[in-house]
Amino acid sequence: MGILTIGTFASLVGSMNLDFVVKLAATALDKGHEVNLWLSGNSTVLVNKDQKEFKDYSHPGVMLPELIDKGLKVVVCEACAMARGVPKEKAIDGVTYTSMDWYLAYGAKGDRLLHIGRE
Protein backbone atom coordinates (compact mmCIF):
# COMPACT_ATOMS: atom_id res chain seq x y z
CA MET A 1 0.00 0.00 0.00
CA GLY A 2 1.08 3.61 -0.45
CA ILE A 3 0.82 7.15 0.83
CA LEU A 4 -1.40 9.53 -1.14
CA THR A 5 -1.21 13.23 -0.34
CA ILE A 6 -3.92 15.47 -1.78
CA GLY A 7 -3.70 19.24 -1.60
CA THR A 8 -6.64 21.38 -2.60
CA PHE A 9 -7.21 25.09 -3.01
CA ALA A 10 -10.77 24.56 -4.11
CA SER A 11 -13.78 26.81 -4.06
CA LEU A 12 -16.40 27.28 -1.40
CA VAL A 13 -19.50 25.27 -0.49
CA GLY A 14 -20.66 23.24 -3.45
CA SER A 15 -17.19 22.78 -4.93
CA MET A 16 -16.99 19.83 -7.30
CA ASN A 17 -13.30 19.54 -6.58
CA LEU A 18 -14.00 18.96 -2.91
CA ASP A 19 -16.61 16.35 -3.81
CA PHE A 20 -14.06 14.54 -5.91
CA VAL A 21 -11.28 14.87 -3.32
CA VAL A 22 -13.34 13.46 -0.45
CA LYS A 23 -14.58 10.53 -2.54
CA LEU A 24 -11.04 9.83 -3.75
CA ALA A 25 -9.74 9.92 -0.17
CA ALA A 26 -12.53 7.62 1.04
CA THR A 27 -11.84 5.07 -1.70
CA ALA A 28 -8.08 5.14 -1.17
CA LEU A 29 -8.55 4.60 2.59
CA ASP A 30 -10.87 1.67 1.92
CA LYS A 31 -8.16 0.12 -0.25
CA GLY A 32 -5.65 0.34 2.58
CA HIS A 33 -3.64 3.39 1.54
CA GLU A 34 -2.55 6.13 3.91
CA VAL A 35 -4.19 9.41 2.87
CA ASN A 36 -3.23 12.97 3.80
CA LEU A 37 -5.60 15.81 2.90
CA TRP A 38 -4.29 19.39 2.91
CA LEU A 39 -6.90 22.14 2.71
CA SER A 40 -5.94 25.67 1.73
CA GLY A 41 -7.70 28.80 0.55
CA ASN A 42 -11.49 28.58 0.33
CA SER A 43 -11.45 24.80 0.77
CA THR A 44 -10.76 25.35 4.48
CA VAL A 45 -14.49 25.98 4.93
CA LEU A 46 -14.92 22.22 4.48
CA VAL A 47 -14.03 21.69 8.16
CA ASN A 48 -16.53 24.18 9.57
CA LYS A 49 -18.58 22.04 11.96
CA ASP A 50 -21.51 24.48 11.79
CA GLN A 51 -21.76 24.30 8.00
CA LYS A 52 -25.24 23.06 7.15
CA GLU A 53 -26.15 20.79 4.27
CA PHE A 54 -28.36 22.46 1.69
CA LYS A 55 -30.40 20.63 -0.93
CA ASP A 56 -28.67 22.51 -3.74
CA TYR A 57 -25.13 22.57 -2.32
CA SER A 58 -23.01 19.50 -1.90
CA HIS A 59 -21.16 19.52 1.43
CA PRO A 60 -18.79 16.55 1.60
CA GLY A 61 -17.51 17.85 4.93
CA VAL A 62 -20.13 15.71 6.62
CA MET A 63 -18.11 12.65 5.56
CA LEU A 64 -14.91 13.85 7.23
CA PRO A 65 -15.50 12.71 10.84
CA GLU A 66 -16.02 9.12 9.72
CA LEU A 67 -13.00 9.27 7.40
CA ILE A 68 -10.85 10.76 10.16
CA ASP A 69 -11.85 7.84 12.33
CA LYS A 70 -10.68 5.56 9.51
CA GLY A 71 -7.27 7.25 9.51
CA LEU A 72 -7.61 10.18 7.12
CA LYS A 73 -5.24 12.99 8.13
CA VAL A 74 -6.99 16.33 7.54
CA VAL A 75 -4.67 19.32 7.82
CA VAL A 76 -5.78 22.91 7.34
CA CYS A 77 -3.81 26.04 6.52
CA GLU A 78 -4.29 28.02 9.72
CA ALA A 79 -3.89 31.41 8.10
CA CYS A 80 -6.36 30.61 5.32
CA ALA A 81 -8.91 29.25 7.78
CA MET A 82 -8.61 32.18 10.18
CA ALA A 83 -8.97 34.59 7.26
CA ARG A 84 -12.27 32.90 6.45
CA GLY A 85 -13.64 32.91 9.98
CA VAL A 86 -13.05 29.24 10.70
CA PRO A 87 -10.76 29.16 13.76
CA LYS A 88 -9.85 25.81 15.28
CA GLU A 89 -12.70 26.02 17.75
CA LYS A 90 -15.17 26.03 14.86
CA ALA A 91 -13.60 23.01 13.17
CA ILE A 92 -14.77 19.42 13.41
CA ASP A 93 -12.78 17.23 15.76
CA GLY A 94 -9.57 15.59 14.63
CA VAL A 95 -8.47 18.33 12.23
CA THR A 96 -4.94 19.76 12.51
CA TYR A 97 -4.26 23.44 11.99
CA THR A 98 -0.76 24.30 10.82
CA SER A 99 1.19 26.06 8.10
CA MET A 100 2.16 25.31 4.49
CA ASP A 101 5.45 23.61 5.32
CA TRP A 102 3.47 20.58 6.52
CA TYR A 103 2.01 20.20 3.05
CA LEU A 104 5.41 20.46 1.38
CA ALA A 105 6.89 17.89 3.76
CA TYR A 106 4.04 15.42 3.37
CA GLY A 107 3.93 15.99 -0.35
CA ALA A 108 7.60 15.08 -0.62
CA LYS A 109 7.37 12.16 1.81
CA GLY A 110 4.38 10.43 0.19
CA ASP A 111 4.27 8.13 -2.82
CA ARG A 112 1.79 10.22 -4.78
CA LEU A 113 0.92 13.90 -4.65
CA LEU A 114 -2.22 15.31 -6.27
CA HIS A 115 -2.36 19.09 -6.15
CA ILE A 116 -5.68 20.63 -7.14
CA GLY A 117 -5.54 24.36 -7.72
CA ARG A 118 -8.15 27.02 -8.22
CA GLU A 119 -11.66 26.22 -9.40
Binding site: M1, L4, M16, N17, K23, L113, L114, H115, I116
Partner: protein, 99 residues
Protein backbone atom coordinates in the same frame (compact mmCIF):
# COMPACT_ATOMS: atom_id res chain seq x y z
CA UNK B 1 7.76 9.54 -16.72
CA UNK B 2 4.41 7.97 -15.97
CA UNK B 3 2.00 10.91 -15.75
CA UNK B 4 -1.69 10.93 -14.82
CA UNK B 5 -3.28 14.15 -16.04
CA UNK B 6 -6.71 14.96 -14.60
CA UNK B 7 -9.05 16.98 -16.82
CA UNK B 8 -11.80 18.30 -14.56
CA UNK B 9 -13.72 20.66 -16.84
CA UNK B 10 -15.16 20.94 -20.34
CA UNK B 11 -13.40 24.28 -20.89
CA UNK B 12 -9.74 24.07 -19.97
CA UNK B 13 -6.33 24.98 -21.37
CA UNK B 14 -6.13 22.56 -24.32
CA UNK B 15 -2.71 23.95 -25.24
CA UNK B 16 -1.33 22.59 -21.98
CA UNK B 17 -2.57 19.12 -22.89
CA UNK B 18 -1.18 19.48 -26.41
CA UNK B 19 2.28 20.35 -25.07
CA UNK B 20 2.46 17.62 -22.41
CA UNK B 21 4.73 14.69 -23.22
CA UNK B 22 5.28 11.61 -21.08
CA UNK B 23 6.55 8.11 -21.71
CA UNK B 24 3.29 6.82 -20.28
CA UNK B 25 0.41 9.33 -20.23
CA UNK B 26 -2.99 8.67 -18.71
CA UNK B 27 -5.68 11.32 -19.18
CA UNK B 28 -8.32 11.02 -16.46
CA UNK B 29 -11.66 12.71 -17.27
CA UNK B 30 -13.39 13.57 -13.97
CA UNK B 31 -16.10 15.99 -12.83
CA UNK B 32 -17.23 18.07 -15.84
CA UNK B 33 -14.26 16.68 -17.74
CA UNK B 34 -16.36 13.58 -18.44
CA UNK B 35 -18.25 15.58 -21.10
CA UNK B 36 -15.18 15.18 -23.33
CA UNK B 37 -15.99 11.46 -23.55
CA UNK B 38 -19.64 11.82 -24.54
CA UNK B 39 -20.24 15.16 -26.27
CA UNK B 40 -19.50 16.34 -29.78
CA UNK B 41 -19.11 19.99 -30.71
CA UNK B 42 -19.73 21.04 -34.29
CA UNK B 43 -20.10 17.35 -35.06
CA UNK B 44 -16.58 16.55 -33.90
CA UNK B 45 -15.56 14.60 -30.82
CA UNK B 46 -13.31 16.25 -28.26
CA UNK B 47 -9.66 16.83 -29.18
CA UNK B 48 -8.78 15.29 -25.79
CA UNK B 49 -9.63 11.86 -27.22
CA UNK B 50 -7.09 12.40 -30.00
CA UNK B 51 -4.10 13.09 -27.74
CA UNK B 52 -1.36 10.95 -29.28
CA UNK B 53 -0.05 8.11 -27.14
CA UNK B 54 -2.44 8.80 -24.27
CA UNK B 55 -4.72 6.32 -22.55
CA UNK B 56 -7.98 8.11 -21.79
CA UNK B 57 -10.08 7.11 -18.76
CA UNK B 58 -13.48 8.47 -17.74
CA UNK B 59 -14.85 8.26 -14.18
CA UNK B 60 -18.09 6.31 -14.08
CA UNK B 61 -19.48 8.00 -10.96
CA UNK B 62 -19.17 11.44 -12.55
CA UNK B 63 -20.71 10.16 -15.80
CA UNK B 64 -23.76 8.78 -14.01
CA UNK B 65 -24.17 11.96 -11.94
CA UNK B 66 -24.50 13.84 -15.23
CA UNK B 67 -27.01 11.37 -16.70
CA UNK B 68 -24.74 9.41 -19.03
CA UNK B 69 -24.10 5.69 -19.19
CA UNK B 70 -21.05 3.73 -20.24
CA UNK B 71 -22.41 2.83 -23.66
CA UNK B 72 -22.64 6.54 -24.59
CA UNK B 73 -18.90 6.92 -24.13
CA UNK B 74 -16.54 7.26 -27.11
CA UNK B 75 -14.66 4.01 -27.75
CA UNK B 76 -11.33 5.74 -27.15
CA UNK B 77 -12.12 6.28 -23.47
CA UNK B 78 -12.12 3.52 -20.84
CA UNK B 79 -14.87 3.75 -18.24
CA UNK B 80 -13.41 3.25 -14.74
CA UNK B 81 -14.68 3.36 -11.18
CA UNK B 82 -13.14 5.42 -8.34
CA UNK B 83 -11.66 2.16 -7.08
CA UNK B 84 -9.99 1.57 -10.45
CA UNK B 85 -8.77 5.18 -10.41
CA UNK B 86 -7.05 4.69 -7.05
CA UNK B 87 -5.36 1.50 -8.28
CA UNK B 88 -4.17 3.23 -11.46
CA UNK B 89 -2.68 6.28 -9.74
CA UNK B 90 -1.09 4.28 -6.93
CA UNK B 91 0.41 1.64 -9.24
CA UNK B 92 0.78 2.86 -12.81
CA UNK B 93 1.30 6.65 -12.67
CA UNK B 94 3.84 8.16 -10.30
CA UNK B 95 3.22 11.80 -11.20
CA UNK B 96 -0.21 13.39 -10.95
CA UNK B 97 -1.31 16.72 -12.44
CA UNK B 98 -4.65 18.54 -12.50
CA UNK B 99 -6.06 20.72 -15.30
Amino acid sequence: MNLALFVSDLRFNQETLDRVTASNLGVFLVENGVYHAVLKEGGSPSAVLEKEGATVYVLNEDLETRGFSGDEVDDRAKVISMSDLVDLIMNDYEKLAWL
